[in-house]
Amino acid sequence: MKAVGSRLLQLVVLLGTISTTLFLLLRLSGDPAILLAGEGAGPETIAAIRIEYGFDKSLTEQYLIFIWEIIRLDFGRSLVNSQPAFGFVLQYLPSTLHLTFLAIFFNSVIAIPAGVWLGAKPNQRRRQILSTIVSVTQGTPAYVIGLVLIQIFAVWLGWLPSIAGTGTWAWVLPVATLAFALAPNLIRVVAASIEDTTRQDYYRTAKANGAAPNILLIKHSLPNALLSTTSLLGAQFAFLLSGALITEFIFAWPGLGLILVQSITNLDFPTIQATVFVVAYLVFFVNLIMDQIFRFADPRLRRSQL
């Protein structure tokens, strides 16, 4: 019970701090009233808009209003499309979550077996080839991967669509792009931690006692690798929630990343704040789940945890 309370408190503090930071940063980024008024707008128009949106009030006053509204989960209306910002952002959450889950899933399906295979006997020549491929793909930005995939599978072969909203097939390329972009890192981490366990004393003892390599892998190496793998997957998940924006850009994917770019371009404060708020909230929960997995996987951590 106490743990739940402290977690809740942490969540509140986290969201409060993020909102405050955001509030201050956005006020540094420009005056949305001028943007709303348009090119060549007179001072009267700008002043009228300032009053309407409350930008004329003092910074402290604006801040207090802002916090009070956030407490009621009211982020105000979007400055450009006048919809309630929170609801607007939530509309785009499912498609981002879907994309994220699928990308993480396929990323794991590709990367974990590859990583285990690579890590189990890292010195074999054929495994070193994979290691090289991983290094090379790691050097390619996601948008290059995306554009190349589109060029091959949509333009040259004509097999797959590259625009969102055209059916099930439209998921393939964005998911593949993200999975390809994420996989090298995961392969690397999985391989490293599998390799790491082969050096541990208990592994050697077990091996010296004549345990079969496969059983060793399953009983000792995999659980050990679970920790770092989940940790990275959690970080990747958190990143994708708002960081897949370039991929969303290229595929016209209706997700949070795209909303974030658009609202930042338009200085649409309420939408930016609502987006970051939602992302922060989700990241908090991902972290929470990660922590639980850690505790479960590694008894040593149970006592040193907060």
């Binding site: 942490q10 503090v13 986290l14 701090t17 993020i18 930071t21 955001l22 940063l25 956005l26 540094l28 980024s29 420009g30 010195n123 290094s135 090379v136 790691q138 050097g139 390619t140 930005p141 996601a142 948008y143 290059v144 554009l147 190349v148 060029q151 690397r188 490293a192 790491d196 050096r199 004393d201 970080a235 958190a238 708002s242 960081g243 924006l245 370039i246 974030l260 770019v261 930042i264 930016i272 987006t275 970051v276 992302v279 922060a280 990241v283 908090f284 972290n287 040193s304 907060l306």
Partner: protein, 294 residues
């Protein structure tokens, strides 16, 4: 263990150890050599130019690579792609290095402090790290570009502010284990101050981890730079960074693929070397700790 058995095993293990050590040393040497070479290019870049990387000639635009003319072809402004890739070394490596250093500075400070303190400070700092992780980098980039403008330092600052949370997390986790080690606990019992203990025990012990993380971060920042450039938040227009060049080449993927080839190769080679260095350091550390434990 019987003496007989021990004699049987030891030579093999020794040989294996030697082999592994050799391998990691080799990896380290190769990667360090490549990186040193790359930095040498960055420093002595004018010697490598075949043309002025900023000189444009519209009548020579989009020429394919040729041995007699432009080695890696020319871009949409008729600039020499090869010379621009060379010019990009200073920008890209510089930004990557400064960004990584900054990220390490913030990350290590926060990570160590969070792990060292057992009380409220730890909770606060852990949440700060959480905030850092969940804060969209785009907003950091936009704010910096708005307030400071675009250029080498703003970009390096942005990248540093983007990468510290990951470093902080790793350092935090590592420090948590370190502070429970016997020698650290013993030092505490002997009344050695926190600051001194951190500097004499924790930081040296963290070094290998930090080296590895820094090498990987460096690689990631090179990619991040091109992403920022894609979003119009990267280096100033026309600056020969690899990210900028890659971004410019998007339109010409079919008609002038060489525009993409140069910067992509440069990024891949650099990242390959940085990763190799990270792995080499990692492997050296592993073999060291194994040796210690034997």
């Amino acid at each position: 263990m019987s003496k007989e058995l021990k004699n049987l095993i030891t030579p093999i293990t020794r040989r294996r150890m030697f082999k592994r050590k050799n391998r990691s040393l080799l990896t380290l040497r190769i990667s360090a050599t490549i990186l040193a070479l790359l930095f040498a290019i960055a420093i002595f870049q004018p010697f490598f130019y075949t043309a002025d990387p900023a000189a444009s000639d519209l009548s020579l635009r989009l020429q394919s690579p040729s041995l007699g003319g432009a080695l890696l072809g020319t871009d949409a402004l008729g600039q020499d792609v090869y010379s621009r890739v060379i010019a990009g070394f200073r920008w890209s490596l510089g930004i990557g290095t400064v960004g990584t250093l900054l990220g390490c500075l913030i990350g290590i400070t926060l990570g160590v402090s969070a792990a060292w303190n057992r009380k409220r400070l730890r909770i606060i700092l852990s949440r700060v790290i959480d905030i850092g992780i969940s804060f969209p980098y785009l907003i950091i980039a936009v704010t910096i570009v708005t307030v400071v403008g675009r250029g080498f330092w703003p970009l390096a600052l942005t990248l540093g502010l983007v990468c510290w949370p990951t470093i902080a997390r790793v350092v935090y986790a590592e420090t948590l284990t370190l502070r429970e080690r016997e020698y650290v606990t013993a030092a505490r019992l002997f009344g050695i101050g926190s600051i001194r203990s951190i500097f004499t025990h924790i930081l040296p012990a963290l070094r290998p981890t930090i080296q590895v993380v820094a090498a990987f971060t460096f690689a990631e920042l090179l990619i991040a730079e091109s992403g920022l450039s894609f979003l119009g938040l990267g280096a100033p227009l026309g600056t020969p960074t690899w990210g900028n060049m890659l971004n410019e080449s998007r339109l010409y993927m079919e008609s002038a693929p060489w525009m993409m080839f140069g910067p992509v190769t440069a990024i891949i080679v650099t990242i390959f070397a940085a990763n190799l260095l990270g792995e080499g350091l990692n492997a050296r550390e592993q073999s060291r700790s194994t040796r210690v434990s034997q």
